[in-house]
Symmetry: C2
Subunit: 425 residues, 2 copies
Amino acid sequence: MNALGLVSTRLCAGLMCRRSAVNLSSLRFSSGMTLSQIDEEVAKLLQLKAQLGGDEGKHVFVLKTAKGTRDYNPKQMAIREKVFNIIISCFKRHGAETIDTPVFELKETLTGKYGEDSKLIYDLKDQGGELLSLRYDLTVPFARYLAMNKITNIKRYHIAKVYRRDNPAMTRGRYREFYQCDFDIAGQYDAMIPDAECLKIVYEILNELDLGDFRIKSYLIEYLSIKINVVFDLSLARGLDYYTGVIYEAILSQTIPALVSTPAEQNGADEAGVSVGSVAGGGRYDGLVGMFDPKGRKVPCVGVSIGIERIFSIMEQKAEASSEKVRTTETQVLVASAQKNLLEERLKLTNALWNEGIKAEVLYKKNPKLLSQLQHCEETGIPLVAILGEQELKDGVVKLRNVVSREEVDVPRADLVDEIKKRTL
Amino acid sequence: MNALGLVSTRLCAGLMCRRSAVNLSSLRFSSGMTLSQIDEEVAKLLQLKAQLGGDEGKHVFVLKTAKGTRDYNPKQMAIREKVFNIIISCFKRHGAETIDTPVFELKETLTGKYGEDSKLIYDLKDQGGELLSLRYDLTVPFARYLAMNKITNIKRYHIAKVYRRDNPAMTRGRYREFYQCDFDIAGQYDAMIPDAECLKIVYEILNELDLGDFRIKSYLIEYLSIKINVVFDLSLARGLDYYTGVIYEAILSQTIPALVSTPAEQNGADEAGVSVGSVAGGGRYDGLVGMFDPKGRKVPCVGVSIGIERIFSIMEQKAEASSEKVRTTETQVLVASAQKNLLEERLKLTNALWNEGIKAEVLYKKNPKLLSQLQHCEETGIPLVAILGEQELKDGVVKLRNVVSREEVDVPRADLVDEIKKRTL
């Protein structure tokens, strides 16, 4: 037993004395632990300690997200929204509907679908109900949905998080919670037209995201009337068991250099930057739905999955590298004042602007300084300030200031909404 | 032991013979089981049976979602999108950012926050890592996020699913997986202005969703410069432990009758229809963030949660009751042909329309009948059909047909995109 093991065991023993009912069966120690296993065991012990109140009776929190997961901050969310908008617009342009499925499925639904990878499935604790697991991808829940509702024709997209107990030591930069972004066409159709449409979608999305040159490789394309350069690649004839026909993959040609400020393990990049790699992939899986049907009825399916997490990483790095600031709000105007005792007037104007559909903010202070109001605009990218003062109120105008150019102009209250709309189109 | 218990036990015994390594410790039987517990035990046994191949060696799937969860079909998703768009627009109008947090947290993060309700938390199985639980609400992860990132000022919204092992026998029509839709303002500010903004947001959202009359009740409003009728109600001074100031709740005045076609337990309604009930609620919780800070530093917070699942139910029932069909796609035009051997031409035109940003579909058949193409439009609400024939190709035109009025007009290929845009604004 190594030193850490010893320490851990002593800590456990101490905890046992304090509350003997604690279940310690989940804590295991051996000299063959990897660093990442040690981290997990330490985190688990600290949690346990915190629950018990610790040695000094203090409540010590482990202030972190679960291993392999992360929060998205407002800036990351703004980038995520931009990427999703482009992708969803493309799916809608192709006439797709969308569905959603629960984050967990009966454990049995996932059994036998992922081969060796099944060990990466998160199971829920048996708390006296059904045996449940977190979804591992969106394809198996989609097939379950089709079989359960006896749907034989659908073109749908589904964007949601999936869960894999990947070992970050093995697969650097992968998250245990991450988005999948799938487009699939189910139905018995002619001449591989749906297969070609999936490729077209990959092409359109990668083009619009403007990620640089990419290649699309395919193992099998019998029919393709749309104009996309596709490289044939026999090595694609592997991967998940469920593929039965065409398989394809889109690969970016360029490496985007990693920035020093974003640790490799936290942004999906390997040490050399975002690796030249797959950003989309998919294929035909005609047998999967039949696995769920009591009579084994087949529903032919073809689909594509956009590698959205890698795309987020690239877009985040591009945003870091660019001089342009990512806005996290869409506020058009800040209602401000340079004078005291005008809180009520500021609130009244803000409220009027909201009612007219203008995106407006007001500082939550009785008497904020004009400088701090202007600073708030500069920090968050608000382009306009509507300034109220005793004189403006008397004259029935508002001083409208352009934050960047610092130009100011008096606008009659009645024209204010139109003027803001005109300037923030 | 009741009859079902006996049957179950015999089934277990049979399974034990087939594979003795199966862990049956999670299966418990007693004569005091409720109907819902029996359902769960039966489902668990059927799962187990399916995993083992069943008595006849056949693989029998239990084709269902987990108890208390549901899929959203395309129609429900379309309604959901509409509701979210209204709510998110309102949050953005008020200058809010958005964040996202993982679906599970360290179990310890949730400990001690929910009092008696803690028993409803879903735990993940200990698979050798940290002890994890599915989030129970969005407020505790928000507080953890603020403390972890030392954020003292933020106005953010968060729309995501949360998880509660509610017993449907006790609380009819509640899901175990459901959306929460939260808006919160954190920071040390003057004069309850953020509190008033939260109320204003409830008011704007309920107004725009057009759900009928509603009342807003509040336990405490010291300052409110915006014009909303608020009823004071001392009975609100209860609920979650973490409230420390104002508490409020919005209640619809009218009952919307339940439709026969939507079973009460599946749409969030009770037997008498969607009950007159709370559709939004919130309050001030100045102490929660400090619970996560090692030094107990407080971050004052006030927020509101929109009862989005109840709103979905009401909107779904309104859609059912209305004669207007809910569209699940946004397709503007179907590219069709009345003649054979024009697949290539149909694909070419469709592709050209996609490239111009037009939402277009084409049937995946070599030679579909015109009638089935028109039928597809009627079923899915596509307003226009672009019809190609030998003659049209020769003349360089496309026959554009209005699906509802059945009017047809020849449009030169060069003008087609503009004509489609003009007609589908």
